[in-house]
Symmetry: C2
Subunit: 688 residues, 2 copies
């Protein structure tokens, strides 16, 4: 077996990336392609500055520093969770927006964690070394968990930095990523939702678009605004048609390197189940919202998030059900396998991996229902599960704990568990009732999980008793239990803790079964495929997204759409057009701010724009960066044509959708009276 790429020439169609394709790790940027197509040289300095200016938010998005005083730009829809948690019946920051005119008014986020990737270290050899004596998938699985926990723990101990081991190329590589971690993150500015999420669910994932989907936080350190040289200068002119631009952010997850068997079970099993779950949840939330304005406010964030997921999943399913997409995937896999099987030593080492995965997927499908329909849709129930697990797990050696409970992860887990964000009992009851009804419908009354929870009661009666019998809504109670350890948890008579104790063995059984039958097999097979990929093609591609920092490049560019062409950018004119076109109704209504201050705006200002950058969910809030390393836009979406991007990058019409800095500048100045904020952004540009 050789380490050198073989057969690459024969595989140009399959594995040489399309121009602009790829979510590249910072250790392996596509410098050559960029140099060739755009005559631009990525320097180590440029890359480092961009990396250190980029942030990950634990709410599932990305962002960037945009001033020397810790100002952090992300999307409104990434900040949404924190806005919701800070809102109440009396003040609705999602609906009304927020602007802190002074530092004192800046609003603390209950449980937001911000990470900056400060170093990357290849630990593949160390992980592989630890696995070399494992003869079964199960043994390898345990050894892998152990070594990954150890590397993370040692990293953290040595540097005090959050230290995560990241699996890339399905196990072809392992990297230690170290993050500077910030948890004092205060909201500075967010527009009203009607401006940030203009067009609502219909326009979500589409373009042309007119969304001011932005929010500004300020990161504090030791109680003071973070002073930093690592931020992106604000370019108020923004990007123009044809410009080369970069996106630095945290794409969450893709399945581009998955095997056909994995894609097929996504298509036939996981995604349809997930869709059923989401539709059921949305149905429940819709009924709850209909009860009144306050109920609607409480449910709003989850409605937003589930509608977003539903649309994304529908797009993914459309892609997986597209015979052309699948035929291309099938052809790619066949050619890859043929290349492996052609050389006896590769065939012996890796040849079985595809069949192993197919067999594991077949097994997994037998328990798909449990995976999706053993849910309780309750924040309190989730917390009870976490508490019961926490006290048990931390007593074990680090290397044997469940994910989330390793030493290197405990700080983040505790931030989550002890969040002071409000929890609404009636909302909890409504959601849990709906979830239990779905579980019962899908699995029947004799399913052990269903039986344990319902104990013969109706879903509504069970939910009512369980939520009303619990005091976990109080963070102090949760802290007490956690600090009291196993004894306190064992003695607790809190209804949800009691239930979580009874469900714990079932959950562990399911998890263990999945580890032994699916995860361990797929991890081992994935590693083989990862190695085979390097052996056959060399490191000419990028790994699937893993919610870690990636760089993508592309250009501002319209695309063929619905018989005509979509423009590279939109303008404020278009917002007023769309509103009037729908007679100012529903998701197309204008906020009073936009209605009343139209005369102040230069209507031809660029509002949203599209680029060919390759992104995916998790990239929300990523900066769009010019060659000069300035921020020229803010990623907030992909177009509908990009939803197949989970599996394949389609260069003709796949587009990143972003807010233009010109629009943000114009709006902050003329609609929000936020001149002070602009001064900070623009002084930043001058390089204060």
């Amino acid at each position: 077996m050789t380490g050198k790429p073989v057969l690459a020439a024969a595989f140009t169609l399959a594995f040489v990336c399309h121009a602009e394709e790829g979510m590249w790790t910072f250790d392996n940027p596509p410098s050559k392609a960029i140099q060739e197509k755009y005559n631009f040289a990525l320097t180590p300095q440029w890359l480092e500055h961009v990396r250190l200016s980029s942030v990950r938010l634990n709410d599932g998005g990305s962002g960037s520093f945009v001033s020397p005083h810790g100002l952090l730009l992300t999307n409104h829809h990434v900040a949404r969770g924190q806005l919701q948690k800070n809102s109440s019946a009396a003040r609705d920051f999602i609906k009304d927006g927020f602007y802190a005119r002074t530092e004192a008014e800046e609003m603390k986020s209950p449980d937001l964690e911000v990470n900056v990737l400060v170093s990357l270290e290849d630990v593949t050899a160390r992980v592989q070394d630890a696995l070399k004596n494992a003869t079964t998938p199960e043994a390898a699985f345990a050894a892998r968990r152990e070594i990954i926990a150890r590397i993370g723990r040692e990293g953290q101990e040595a540097t005090k930095l959050r230290s995560d081991v990241v699996t890339l190329y399905q196990g072809g590589e392992y990297w230690l990523y170290r993050y500077k971690r910030y948890t004092d993150v205060r909201l500075v500015f967010a527009p009203e939702e009607q401006a940030a999420f203009y067009g609502g669910d219909p326009d979500n994932f589409t373009y042309p678009r007119y969304d001011l989907d932005m929010a500004l936080f300020r990161v504090y350190e030791n109680g003071k605004p973070l002073e930093t040289a690592q931020y992106l200068k604000w370019n108020p002119k923004g990007a123009a048609d044809g410009d080369l631009v970069f996106v630095s952010g945290h794409p969450g997850s893709t399945s581009r390197l998955h095997t056909l068997a994995q894609l097929e079970s996504q298509r036939d099993s996981s995604l349809p189940s997930l869709l059923k779950l989401i539709n059921s949840r949305l149905d429940v939330l819709g009924k709850y919202s209909a009860l009144g304005a306050e109920q609607s406010r409480q449910a709003s964030d989850q409605v937003f998030s589930l509608e977003n997921s539903r649309k994304a999943i529908l797009g993914q399913l459309k892609g997986l059900r597209d015979e052309q997409v699948m035929a291309a995937k099938r052809a790619d896999e066949e050619r890859f396998k043929a290349a492996v099987n052609e050389r006896p030593e590769m065939r012996d080492a890796y040849g079985s991996a595809w069949d192993d995965i197919a067999a594991a997927e077949s097994k997994a499908v037998t328990r798909t229902k449990e995976q999706y329909f053993h849910g309780m849709a309750s924040t309190l129930a989730d917390l009870s599960r976490q508490i019961v697990e926490y006290v048990a797990e931390i007593k074990k050696p680090d290397g044997q704990r469940l994910p989330g409970y390793h030493d290197s992860q405990l700080e983040s887990t505790r931030l989550e568990m002890f969040s002071p964000a409000p929890i609404y009992p009636e909302f909890e009851i409504a959601r849990m009732t709906g979830a239990l009804a779905l579980d019962l419908a899908e699995l029947g009354p004799d399913d052990p999980f269903v039986k344990t929870i319902l104990e013969g009661r109706t879903p509504a009666a069970a939910a009512d008793t369980l939520i009303k019998g619990s005091r976990l809504a109080d963070p102090a109670v949760r802290k007490q239990l956690v600090e009291g350890g196993e004894t306190a948890v064992a003695a607790s008579t809190d209804s949800l803790i009691v239930l979580a104790r009874r469900l714990d063995p079932q959950r562990r059984e399911y998890r263990k079964w999945m580890e032994d039958n699916v995860q361990s097999v797929e991890a081992r097979a994935g590693e083989k495929i990862g190695k085979a990929r390097f052996a056959v093609f060399g490191k000419t591609t990028y790994p699937d997204a893993t919610f870690t920092l990636r760089l993508s490049y592309g250009q501002v560019k319209g695309y063929p759409m619905n018989g005509t062409v979509a423009p590279p950018e939109t303008t404020f004119y278009g917002l007023y057009d769309r509103a009037a076109s729908f007679n100012y109704k529903g998701p197309f209504a204008l906020s009073s701010r936009f209605l009343e201050n139209r005369g102040k705006l230069e209507l031809r200002t660029a509002f949203n724009f599209v680029t060919t950058n390759d992104i995916i969910g998790g990239n929300s809030g990523s900066p769009i960066i010019s060659k000069e390393g300035e921020i020229v836009g803010l990623v907030f979406d992909g177009n509908i044509e990009s939803l197949v991007g989970d599996f394949v990058y389609e260069p003709t019409a796949n587009r990143t959708v972003a807010v233009h800095t010109a629009a943000m500048t114009e709006a902050l100045r003329k609609l929000y009276g936020a001149q002070k904020l602009l001064d900070e952004l623009l002084v930043g540009k001058a390089g204060k």
Copy 2:
């Protein structure tokens, strides 16, 4: 065999129309469906008024009277041909638009004919009676031609009205349509093309749209403006979301009742050939246009028309290549045939029709190349052919003449032949050179048609000699030849007349072969299917479009588009958005009038809008009519989703695209200073 519908219940899917589907003849309007869905009763008075207010233009479009003084509203793109013919190197009415501020300035159209349908008479029995003794398809074909010519001639002699026999339901019915004919039609108003055809070819057949695609003619009678009570009152408020609206116009041609064999040969043979032809013509026109501004002006109308056709054909091909569309068509046909074959007497009478058509199509395909690649792309060559045919045909008994030369058609044919519209020799040479090169490439040098024309010369040399050797550009020369009859034509040494004489036998052979082998067979089989359709389903459907007057109903309604929803209407805001979005470039540039007068416009005025009405090419210029019988919009397009409408009506997204009367009112008043015209339109409304 029974005349009563049978089996209708079993065929609900196939033959009961979708809501809003159908281009209905005025003798059989869908009154019941409209009453049921919209609670609106179509009265005979309403229908008559709408019919007499509707006009057909011989340039291939529709229109309506909109004032008591003969003002006729149609599309800019329908008026385009006349604008082109009145333009010169010195004045370009397409580019600059036109407005006659006084009656004296109104500009005579060279060869525009306007028809108003004044009566309809069912002549099915008379035609069928004339065919009853014909034992072969050929004999039936001759008898049919003879009786149709006779009915037309008698109709015209009796009433002095243009009298056409129209074949409906593929020969299931024959009707005598009598038209009042106007040929003194003067241009009153047309906007600049950049406003009328905003977005150009990219936006053509799409929506959202921002086109002021309107033109106003005035019809004169005896040298004076036509005074008429039959006109549609102008409603400046226009249509609103959800309104019930009607379209009365002249859809050109559809293939919804065609057999699968016919659709397949369209898909596999005719349309691909036509597309190749159009692409070649456009290529030639592009090169000619590149020579200079004047060349570009000369070619502009043909470029417009061919690009329009290309986009329509691409849409049709997409429909025919859509396996779902074809599967539905196949299923419909199978069920229809099964119903026919179930009853022995129907099977004997009609059962063979589908196979007969399939056999004829197979034959036709053998000569498709000649059909499409025996073209010369020259106006002068067309005229030479017409002159040579004319003098021969009119000597024959009326019933035996070629189409276009029957007594009832001669007036219109002569209007065309003697048109004073300018003909540009260099343009003729360029087009003919391109066409002959294509013919040569497709059929080879030994093809008799190619051989006769080229005589061993290159296409360029032949075209140069032929055009330069002809004086047919002068209408007086054409008139002389026609009036000199066969003797004058036989004696002519005009290069194109000489050539046309030599080509005449070849053309007659081809035409005869097509008549004997294809048209006669399909006409006879079509009649059988038409009769079978009535026998099986009753007269519950509408006939395919035949460029005769039809009524469609529908409502103003957005539709699902590209992941979101298209609005029911657009506004002037959207025009300014689209222009700025493309940086005011190319087809998205704004005319200086729109750029400079933006401040005068109420930007939220409805501009274009969409309705569910079922239309097709030929409907361009049709009025959109309210329940009150007022004009609320002007049809100018179908959306991209409607292009499959040639074969099937798809209710979800098939939309008619129209100019809103509010936009026309706003533009006439504020951009064009045409208050006088508006006064006439609005006084009309008051019922002067």
